[in-house]
Symmetry: C2
Subunit: 115 residues, 2 copies
């Protein structure tokens, strides 16, 4: 059973107490891309997905969360832009922190069990 060549993988996400999925890696990644790129459209391109798809996912998250995650502006010289709300930024920060700590813990546990 010397399977140190097996990897433990995990996925972390946040749910309501009633079991509804709120957000996880995908959603957080989208928010980070928007923060970096400045618009939904550019973020979608940077992640290799279509605008329509990303827009739909954003809408879902916002209505599940209940608070707006983006301040959107359309028109203007650059056509428009989208910037994250402070809630969104906090959400990203806490999620990444959680995820990293869990991953670290898992790595220790893994080497402890499958040594």
């Amino acid at each position: 059973m010397e399977n140190t060549h097996f990897k433990v993988r995990m996925r972390v996400w946040i749910e309501t107490e009633t079991g509804e999925t709120l957000y996880g890696e995908g959603q957080i990644g989208i928010l980070e891309a928007i923060e970096k790129e400045g618009s939904i459209n550019a973020a979608a391109k940077s992640l290799g997905m279509g605008y329509r798809s990303m827009w739909g996912r954003l809408k879902k998250i916002e209505q599940r969360i209940g608070t707006p995650l983006l301040v959107r502006r359309k028109g203007g010289v650059l056509g428009g832009e989208s910037v994250l709300t402070s809630e969104a930024k906090l959400m990203i920060e806490k999620f990444r922190q959680l995820q990293q700590q869990i991953n670290d813990a898992a790595k220790k546990i893994h080497t402890c069990i499958y040594s």
Copy 2:
């Protein structure tokens, strides 16, 4: 942000080092059911899934793992049976141990971050 009403959920699974999924909760659950029920058929019923579906998943796991997980017997007075190999039993044990320890760790981290 007093979201103690948010739940952290996670899914753990095992991959090869090349990124192929090997097994996770679903597969382990199937093996446990077979161990308890004594046959693929009975196990499928007990989990509310069809025999065909469970059989297909078992085949996939075995060919990905490369070692047989079941000793199958067809015919006979009871029609047949299936029992776990010792590899399968070890696999279950280690996975459950890993999963539980990671869950415990995650719970601590969660209350530490979203307190």
